[in-house]
Amino acid sequence: MFRKVLVANRGEIAVRIMRALREMDIRSVAVYSDADRASLHVRMADEAFHLGPAPSSESYLRIDRILEAVRKHGADAIHPGYGFLSENAEFAEACEAEGITFIGPSAATIRQMGSKTAARKMAIAIGAPVVPGTESAVSDPAEARQIARAVGYPVLLKAAAGGGGKGMRRVDSESELEGALRDAASEAERAFANSAVYIEKLVERPRHIEIQVLGDRHGNMVHLGERECSLQRRHQKVMEESPSPLVSARPGMREAMGEAALSIARHAGYYNAGTVEFLVDETGRFYFLEMNTRLQVEHPVTELVTGYDLVQLQIRIAAGEELRLTQKDIAWRGWAIECRIYAEDPHNGFLPSPGMLADVERPTGPGVRLDSGVYAGWEVPMEYDPLLAKLAVWGETREAAIARMKRVLGEYYVSGITTNISFFRQILDDPQFCAGHLHTGFIDEFLRSGAPDPPRSPDYDAMAALVTAVFSKQETQRPVDAGTFSIRSRWLAEGRVRGMR
């Protein structure tokens, strides 16, 4: 087993990985940018290495610096987490060249699955269902028009190297096509240094359902069932659950999707933890989307229902251990739901809200799991993803899990910046959500329909006024309408925008 592992990431996932390392009695090495010296992942690490300035391109994406850290600290493996270099084949190769273990699949597999068009070709080749569209990147508007006509509008433009919705555009008519193509390409260029974009038929009201696979280097491979990830904003997941309400309601569907996922993974010579993403239409037909050759943000919901620690298994597999699991060993118990706590305002176009966290109160009690990368008094940097924490619950049934998540969100309080915590409480009250009628456009529709305000007690206004009056008497000598330069001002400013809604 490894003696020391470098975690080439930041935030909640770096913390998650370090916890696994600590439990396995392996030393952890953190890397950090100027913006992250005081970040939780540095505080939790056994060792730490400074990469460079805040921008990812000068820190977390600097392969040379990370390898420097490996040499200086004598790490024998690297866990890339998700994002950053986690799906970068060059990085995986550089690790091999350096003689240290990259905790993930082979560089070849990453490269093959990294290009959506290549992955798509492969899926077609082995007979896995895919959404109709181009098999290679398109840049010429004329060619694009032709293809779009062929598959029929609406179509979806996607970055070949992409992920997380960057470089993605919905196009409903030909008039929009050229502009959308340009935007998608430039966004893809910025995000992935690769402007290649392809076109596919847009499936209406689709579900996003993915299968977790786990394989070792000795040819053993299992799937751990599905995750329903249909709740998204700006093509990014905000809420996930396992099992999927749709899949669990359809006998044989999990097995069918699992088999499709395993055949694709096997064909790619896959090992370590990976996720095969499918688009599922309203009739339950599923299409291969792409494979994520890394740990998934939402892996906790799978851990909660299967009882396996995916990060520890990743590390064991990378160390060459054999996966002592066969498909029939995998059992699913209960229901898990995860909410991604973002520093953003759902009621104001999901505008990001970086800044100082004034107060953080964390939910506890039965069936709660919190993977957080933040703490009170910490400045949330503007350079990185707005994900602050992942709040997951487990319950015996979906109903129990929903009820528990509502309870838990009520115990969760963050001030200083705006978060989407209260937004989840509104979603959990929505009848469509409770009925399990989900699709990737759910949240946009939900917001258009105008989310109801939480119920207000008869005493509400009087109480709010009284407590304010007493608070201002007790805590501040400053007149009530005067300004403040407290660390809370960011939250207030964002709050004001909402207050005026």
Partner: protein, 169 residues
């Protein structure tokens, strides 16, 4: 003690006094029913109060802000102000579609693109400046048809929330 207050812009008059570890209060909104009674109010943590009114228990959180206090009761947030007469008369910039209009940063972040130059004529809704934070790009559009009379935004510059980026006239 008597205060003129507003809760989410609903004005009211609040009278309150401490009475043996409790607070007697009388709340009279301009419209809606008046509410008076006695509340047990304990400061559990900074800005967090445990309130009991007629046997009902509430957890009330409050933080001071530039334009009032932000109060959270059971996940519901409100802005509570003590009304400042001057505030009622004033109308800030950026109202209506006449005259000068300012374009300000909707979030803290970095200016990644400036699509116009000072003196340019722009149409209403034309893209002017792109600000990026937390990997989200936000294109700021022109609030009106007119000319860019002032351009403060510079590519690569870090901007604060509400910072002036351009003026259209």
């Amino acid at each position: 003690m008597k205060l003129q207050v507003s809760v989410d812009d609903r004005p009211a008059e609040l009278s309150f006094e401490e009475a043996s570890a409790e607070w007697r209060f009388d709340y009279r909104p301009q419209d809606g029913l008046a509410r008076s009674g006695t509340a047990s109010l304990v400061r559990a943590e900074p800005g967090i109060y445990s309130v009991l009114i007629e046997g009902l228990a509430y957890e009330v959180r409050v933080v001071a802000g530039p334009d009032g206090y932000y109060v959270d009761i059971g996940g519901r947030r409100s802005v509570v102000k003590v009304i400042d007469p001057r505030a009622l008369s004033s109308t800030g910039p950026g109202q209506g579609s006449q005259g000068r209009q300012t374009v300000t940063a909707p979030m803290p972040g970095k200016v990644v693109r400036v699509l116009i130059a000072e003196g340019d004529e722009v149409a209403a809704g034309a893209g002017l400046i792109v600000v990026e934070a937390m990997k989200m790009q936000n294109e700021l559009k022109s609030p009106k048809a007119g000319r860019i009379v002032q351009l403060k935004a510079q590519v690569g510059a870090t901007v604060k929330l509400g910072e002036l980026l351009a003026v259209v006239e």
